[in-house]
Structures are given as C-alpha cells and as structure tokens.
Symmetry: C2
Subunit: 460 residues, 2 copies
C-alpha cells in the first residue's frame, strides 16, 4: 500500500453482516434501556406496539451482534461500504502532523447516513404488515432517506417537515416528492397537534419534536400506518453501527487506530453509528481513544442539559425515556443544522455520557460554517451543516496537535453532503449568518417543564 493513499475503499462483499449492540458492553439499567409508556392510552395498548417486535427485540437485550437481514444487506450493497478518506489536503492546509481520516456517508442519493436505518426500518415494518410510514424530519435528511426506502420497498410515506427547513431547503422537499412521498410543513393544519401549535404561535419555525407529534397523530388516521423515527431509539443507533464497523476495518487497512473519534450529535444515531464500535474495540484493546460528540450551542443537550426522564415529542404522547434533555418543550433557534435541533439525546448515548465514557463539545453556527467552507475548499466535499460540526471539532483537534507537535490520529464522520444547504453557505459567504446561542434562562425554563416520572410504573 503506497504511502500517499487517499481512499480506503472496500468491496460490496465487505459490507458488515452484523450490527453491533452496545448493551453487551455498557451497563444500562433495564428501566433505562426501555421506554416508559407515557399516557393511559399508551398503557392501554392503543398506541402499542408501534414498533414491530422484530425491530425492537435486537436492541434491548445484551446480544453483542445482531445479524443484518439478507434483504437489508442487499440494499446496503447498492452503495456501501462507504469510503474512508485520508484528508491529506486538509492536513497540508492546516500544517498539522495529525493524521485526519473521515468516513463519508454523503455519497448516496438521500445524501446522508440516515438511509442505513431507513431501509432497515422499512424492511421490518413491511414484514409486520405495515403499508404506510409517517415521520417527522428536520433539515430533511431523514425524510429523504425514508422516502427512498419506502419507495424501494413499496410503502406509502408521509413526512412532516420542520417549517423552517421546508422553507430553507426546498430541494430536499423535491427529493422526497420525487420518491413519491407526501411532504407537509410542520406545524400545519393537518393534525390537532399542529393546529394547536399554530394557534399558540402562528409564526412557529417548528421543531423535530413538533413534527414528530404531528406524524405520530397522523399515523393513526391512515390504513396500516405507523410512525417511525430517524434517531434516538436503540434500534436506530443499532442500524447505524454499520458505519463504525466498516470504519474499524478501514482504519486497520490504513494501519492506524484513532486517538479521537468525532461525530456530530443530533439525537445521537450518527454519533453512535461511528463511535459505538470503537467503544467496543477500546474495551478489547485498552486503547484510550476519546469519543467526542459535537452539538450546536443553539441546542446544547449534552453540555447544558439534564439527565432526566422526558418525552420525545412536544405533545407528551410518546413514551418517556431517560436522557440528556433540554426539556421536550424546548424549541431551538433556527440554525441551519436542522438535524441537530432535537431537544434530547438518545438513551444509550446519554448513558455513555453519564458514565464518563465519552465527551461532548458545543460550537456556534459561524465557526461551524467557516470550518465547513474550509473543508469544502480543501477536500472538495461540501459538508452538511450538521456534519460541519464534526469537521469543526476535527480541525480544532488538528490545530491542537500542531501546537503539541503530536502525530495524533483523528477520525471523524462526514455524515452527509451540504449540496442542498448551499443557500446557507451563500448566507455565510455574504456575512449574513446569525450566530445563535441560547441563554441559560431559556434552558432553565424548559427544564422546569420536565414531566414527573413518578406516577408512571417502571416497566422493566
């Protein structure tokens, strides 16, 4: 293998055969592992089972590896394995002795890693007799992925898209419609939850939490409909580990093991997808690799949130989960990284963080776009605003390595491309980008509205 290699490609036969379940290697109490039904209606079973048992089962036990169904793996093989790239031009531009590697998940047509779980979920739901999937989407990457997966498997698809993103990112809407999905801006007039929100705040920018509340309500009005989500749940994190499993093998091909693993943090499936397999490998080898989640200062659930029981949607319909949260009533300022505006962190990532097994860092929007533009110019890949958070952290680590004269190995995930976010880069270039952060008072107010988990019986 030559010394100047850029691309670590693998053959489609090398697509992993198994997902990795971190519960085999992480001590999580049973009641935290599962969600708690929130309402009487939910406890009565009227809302359950929303998730097919086949989809749920693999992600709550302690089985280390879960086999990827043949049909899902065949779909993966149409675009996976994704490349691992040595960012040599970025290294040169930063004059750093660090070795920078990025896993690139943006080359599939949905534009991001979200397709990994969308295809798996569509498969399991279809097998369970579901004919119509509904969901909420932020910037639209999850919605794009689900619409493609539904089209591929012959399911109907309705996507509630955060109103701000619906306006900011029209091309993602077209991408979904091109795949036959119905796309509804949220909050909107289709659901009770949406109408209530609009009545209270007619100018609401929306949020993933609101969109999910609408999609959840809407699923009950269509034949054989189910609501599904693109992050947070154990099974979504499970599906995404295909990223880290590939990266482990590609880093081995590169003859290196990362000192730092970095990924952006929405609800956590992207971070978990890359980092969880490295957690296992750390335990095995004793390496002191750092796992770093990167969030926006506009939605700092890990760096400023509380580890508590909370709802996943703004209406409080969903089961409660124990997680780092800013409160389910928290609505983040309208940063372009719509996929990172969710109020909570996945229970499994939250447990990992609570136990001090990973780190978190938060950035403002402008330095994130500066890093994204720098990456676009050097590596010729325009990162999605979400992914640019990981790029920013990787650049900071590389600059620190330069100061420390350390040939540190840095691995980060470019989870999606930003070609449909170029209007945001246009704003950045024009100097028109806002630099949102949220005040401690704002956070305190939504934390004060956290639900009391007391009356809810522990289901474990």
């Amino acid at each position: 293998m030559k010394a100047t290699r850029n691309q670590y490609l693998m053959d489609e036969d090398d697509v992993p055969t198994h997902w990795y379940n971190i519960l085999a290697d992480l001590d999580v109490p049973a009641d935290v592992r599962r969600a708690r039904p929130a309402t009487d209606e939910a406890r009565s079973g009227k809302l359950a089972p929303n998730i097919p048992l086949s989809l749920y089962r693999g992600s709550v036990g302690r089985q280390r590896f879960v086999e990827i169904p043949a049909e899902v793996r065949e779909q993966y093989q149409t675009w996976r394995p994704t490349p691992l790239i040595r960012a040599r031009r970025l290294e040169q531009a930063l004059e750093t002795p660090a070795h920078l590697y990025y896993k690139y998940e943006g080359a599939n047509a949905s534009g991001s890693h979200k397709l990994n779980s969308a295809l798996a979920q569509a498969y399991y739901y279809k097998k369970a007799g579901v004919e119509h999937l509904t969901t909420g989407t932020g910037a639209g990457q999850w919605g794009s992925a689900l619409s493609m997966a539904c089209h591929a498997l012959g399911l109907d698809c309705t996507v509630f898209m955060v109103r701000l993103s619906h306006a900011q990112k029209p091309y993602r809407r077209v991408l979904m419609e091109l795949n036959g999905a119905r796309v509804i801006p949220s909050p909107g007039g289709t659901t009770q939850a949406g109408r209530k929100l609009l009545a209270d705040s007619p100018d609401s920018a929306g949020s993933v939490s609101i969109a999910n509340a609408e999609a959840l309500e809407y699923a009950q009005t269509v034949a054989n409909g189910r609501f599904c989500v693109g992050s947070g749940e154990n099974h979504v994190l499970l599906h995404q580990t295909v990223i880290g499993e590939e990266a482990l093998r590609q880093m081995k091909a590169a003859g290196e093991f990362p000192d730092v693993v970095i990924a952006s943090m929405g609800a956590g499936s992207n971070f978990a997808g890359l980092a969880f397999p490295f957690h296992r490998e750390k335990l095995r080898s004793g390496a002191d690799t750092r796992l770093v989640a990167v969030e926006p200062e506009a939605c700092p659930k890990l760096t400023k949130g509380r580890y508590a029981w909370d709802y996943n949607d703004i209406s409080g319909t969903t089961p409660m989960t124990k997680m780092y949260t800013l409160g389910h009533t928290f609505v983040a300022p309208g940063v372009h990284a719509g996929g990172l505006r969710y109020h909570g962190a996945a229970p499994l990532v939250s447990a990992l963080y609570d136990q001090g097994l990973m780190e978190a860092v938060a950035y403002r929007q402008k330095p994130v776009f500066e890093a994204g533009a720098f990456f676009a110019r050097t590596e010729n890949v325009v990162p999605a605003p979400e992914s640019a958070h990981a790029v920013k952290a990787a650049i900071d680590e590389a600059v620190k390595a330069r100061e420390e004269r350390s040939p540190k190995v840095i691995l980060f995930n470019v989870s999606g491309h930003g070609l449909l976010d170029l209007s945001a880069y246009d704003q950045y270039l024009a100097g028109d980008l806002e630099d949102h952060a949220v005040s401690d008072e704002h956070i305190a107010a939504s934390l004060a509205a956290l639900p009391d988990p007391g009356p809810v019986g522990v289901t474990s």
Copy 2:
C-alpha cells in the same frame, strides 16, 4: 465474483496512466484537426497562443496514448476511479433482459465529469505561467469544476455563467463562490460583447457561446489571464477519455462488452470521454458496438445541423473549426440541460459522425425528465438534466431489448448528479415543464449566417 454484483470499484492505483488520442485511429484531415484563426487580430498573434503548447501538443498529433502528468493523476486519485454500476433495479423495473451498466461521474464535489479536464487544464496553464483563468459556463458544471481546479492549484478564476442558468441554478453559483471564483451572469455589463448583446436583446437568456465571447474578451483585461473551455477542443476530449479507459477495465471485470455505448452530447467531451476508448477497442476486436450521442431536440446539432466551418462563439472571435453546427448565432430555447445548449459539436466527434462511425438521437425535455425521475426512483441517483438524456436513450434501448427478447449489454454515462437541478424536477413533478423544440426555419436562419471560410488560409 458473485452473480448479483452492483458496484465495480477500482483502487486509486488503477487510475489510468494515459489518456487516449483518437487521432491515432481516426482519419481526420490536418486542416480539420486544427482550428483556423478567424480574425486578422488572431492571425497577427495578438490572441495567440491562448493554449499552452504543452496542452495543445498531445491532442493534434497521432500519438495513441498521452501520459497523464503525475500531478494531475495525483489529483484524479482523490476521487477516481469512479464506479461502474450494474443498474439491476432499473433492469427489474423495466422487466428487460438487457444488462444495464452506468459509469457514474457525479460523485465528486463539482458534481460532474468536467473536473477531469478542469484539473488537467489548470495544471498546464499554471505551468505556462498563467495566473487567472476565465471561462463561460452553461448550467454551471464546468464552472464548478474549473473553480475547484483553480482553487486547488492556486489560480484566480472568473466564470461567465449563462444568465438563464444563473437564475435557475443559484446553488451552482454558490458552489463556485465557495471555491473563491467570481461569477458574472452573461450577457452582462462587464464586457463589450455582453453590453452589445444586452443592447440588442435586453431579455436574452444567454448561451454558452455568448458567455464564452465575454470570458474571452475579459481574459485580455486581467494580468496573466487566459480563456479556457470545458468542451469541444481536442485536448478536452483527450482528458475525458480517462472515463472510457476506466470503463473498459470495469466492463472486463464484469465479464461483458457493451453492444451499445450511450452518452449525452453537449459539445462532445462527455460523449468522447466514454465512447472514444470503445471505438479503439471495437477496431481491435471487431465488435459491432454502437456508439450513440444523445442531444436535446432544443439543440439538435448532430441530427439537424450542418458539417461546416464555423466559429465557437457568437462574436466570431474564436478560430473557426469544421464541425456539425446549427450556426454560431443559434441560441437554443431555455431547456434545463444548459450544458447541452451549445450550437456546435467538437471537431473530433463531428468527424466520427461524418464518417458514419457513431449515431445520434434527439429527445424533447419532458420524456427526458420522465426518464431522469424514473432513474432517480429506481437507482437512487438523481441524474443531471444533461445526463438524463443518456438515461432516456438507455431506457429506450432496454425497452427495445425487451421487445426483441435480447440480453443486450448497454453502457451509459451518468455524467453528473442533478441535486442542484431539483427545481427543474420540481417543475416536472408539477407538470410545469416546457417541451421545447426548434423549428426548421429557426435552424435554417442561423445556418444561413454561417461564415464563409474561403478567405481564411488553411493553416495546416
């Protein structure tokens, strides 16, 4: 190799070491091989040499293979070889016994094959002491590629972008600006040519021919500036053969040889890039593979143009070349496939066509978008409107194969992605797409304005 393989990937060490010069295998008179200076000013040498000798030399002789400079090959290795994909889901959807393969050139950040020549040209111009490149671009794929190449090699870059595309495709403008290029809508007020055009037709949609005239004039006003083009010239076609050279090896890995090779046709570098190496292989093996160029009915230079001497730009400043042309004053209707709106065909493609060694077919805009949308839904790749022309022809061939029960092997080039053209797909979905064709009278009028090559001395 398993029977269901989708992706034929190659390692970056497999990037070809040589471009292929078709002049070794195609009988083209010397005076057709080179361009004729058009004006007294050009003949006086004031405009020459626009093209560095090092760039020009390899593409006018009969040397079969031209070595790719190490620096250019290293750049290629950051994203090449591009994948060859077996379009199995498209085959299934069409219920065709044909085997469909596509070479995918859209995965690099510039979005298309254009980067192959942009990097090579930037390299040769820089070596010749040039510090600033100017160009005209249609839909913006060439401009995006050149801006990236210039940024990578440290050259300034000014792009005159067809006014219609500048309005229709704002994201491509941002992509160029992100790479530090200056982007000027054409026709515009910066140049004499632009001002004259605007005075005559204030609502002009522009054309590549006009944009080139402006870029050519502007290059003379900046220090160490040169005008360069993204298609047509022998050396551009030469650079693009890296596509076909890779495809030859990938088809061999698939154990098949194409019966039909299909590519969309603007000025011809995309078509030549894929088809020329297969022309050589046909001569060697005696295969009766068909080479098919696909153009829009809105700009039918091969199917309705004349093989004649003509200018490459609307002002008549550029040297004349013998080519299939609709006349340099022809302005095509505003189809979304801006890259196919050029009035002429490359001299080498024109010679191949004149000698009956290739075919051409023309389609209207709506069926092309229908094919593009169908491809997006089945193969999960959104093709650029230009590339969708090749997709349409490939689908038609596959349907014919179904009727003939023939397991024909069809190879086509998806030269670029259409993610920055989703507004056009939006129009298609909404039923708002126009279905332009040009009348025979319109073509006759511009053909009547063809220049008289008589007074110009043959330079061979």
